[in-house]
């Protein structure tokens, strides 16, 4: 192809690779020159179904439906539906998660799906049948350490994530070594005393690192009672704050999942420099 004079080129991204094309190139023209088989075209994070003009700085992802991409293309294709610019900011980040139950397993999956580069997850427990009503595990994982099972599941979703599995009970004696260097910390325990113990020690030691905690998610009270609030300088609390797990009031996927995803979005906002509340 002949060199294009600089005044009539534009810079766009095709499958996350920067490239130069002639100004006024249209979407279908680009597809035909890059990959005629592509039948799912995503422009700036949104799938489009008609030809359209392209502009300088646009991000175009060309996908062949049903085809498993090569590992080079995989990352770009996994992130095609992101708001543009988000993935670059979070792929170098590290998030700590204490607990891999109903909250932790789902927070980890959400953060892996968006491409948070490194996750450190600690839990001493094994997968058992009563976990499956709300936790991201499968029947054939019963008996495995939760962190081992979660690592397997995350690798099936996004193999680029660096996942550190800590099969241990987090205590005031070992949390520092376990979670040193995280950009954001997530409290995802079940027990109220364990929550308070970890949060107070973590925030006292790592006073510059924000922590996102969960409290109040049992039963089937209305979803809209669940909120994200800033409750101390570096402490964000997701949940309704009051509905505790107790005899007669169980823990179930919908509300635990809502809190987990409040936590995951609070983490994302913190990593992007936004206030979660």
């Amino acid at each position: 192809m002949a060199a294009i004079p600089p005044n009539i080129i534009m810079q766009i991204f095709v499958n996350e690779q920067s490239c130069q094309v002639a100004a006024e190139t249209r979407l279908y023209e680009l597809r035909d020159s890059e990959n005629q088989q592509a039948d799912l075209l995503i422009v700036n994070g949104y799938p489009v179904s008609a030809d359209q003009p392209l502009y300088d700085g646009d991000r175009v992802v060309l996908i062949v439906r049903g085809a498993v991409p090569t590992s080079d293309d995989l990352e770009a294709l996994l992130m095609a539906r992101h708001t543009p610019g988000v993935h670059e900011k979070i792929k170098g980040s590290c998030v700590g998660i204490a607990g891999a139950g109903g909250l932790g397993s789902q927070v980890a999956v959400a953060l892996a799906r968006i491409g948070v580069g490194r996750l450190i997850v600690a839990d001493f427990d094994l997968v058992e049948p009563s976990n499956l009503n709300r936790q991201h595990y499968f029947i054939d994982q019963i008996g495995l350490p939760k962190v081992v099972a979660l690592k397997e599941n995350i690798k099936r979703i996004n193999p680029a994530i660096k996942f550190t599995a800590l099969a241990l009970k987090i205590t005031p004696a070992n949390f520092k070594a376990s979670f040193s260097g995280v950009d954001v910390m997530v409290e995802a325990f079940d027990d109220a005393e364990q929550k308070a113990l970890l949060i107070s020690h973590f925030l006292r030691t790592f006073s510059q690192v924000p922590l996102v905690a969960g409290s109040g998610m049992a039963g089937f009270s209305p979803s809209n009672a669940i909120v994200t609030r800033r409750v101390a300088k570096n402490l964000y609390l997701c949940g309704d704050g009051v509905t505790e797990a107790r005899p007669g009031q169980g823990l179930m996927a919908p509300r635990v999942g809502i809190v987990a995803h409040h936590q995951a979005n609070a983490v994302l906002r913190l990593l992007l420099g936004e206030e979660p509340e």
Partner: protein
Amino acid sequence: MKLSLNGQEREFTVPLNVEQLLEQLELNRNQVVVELNSDILTAENYVDTQLKDGDKLELIQFVGGG
């Protein structure tokens, strides 16, 4: 002395440390996170931390479930 508790001003007539404040408020010391004037405390500091007029506290209670 006047203390700010979760943004609400409260008056107390006797000297209190953090442990005694939590008792008076009937909060379970093991299920609460205490922030005093923007610093988080741990439970082993509660008895030694004497409160004074004008202190601002955030007392965050946790319930089980996750």
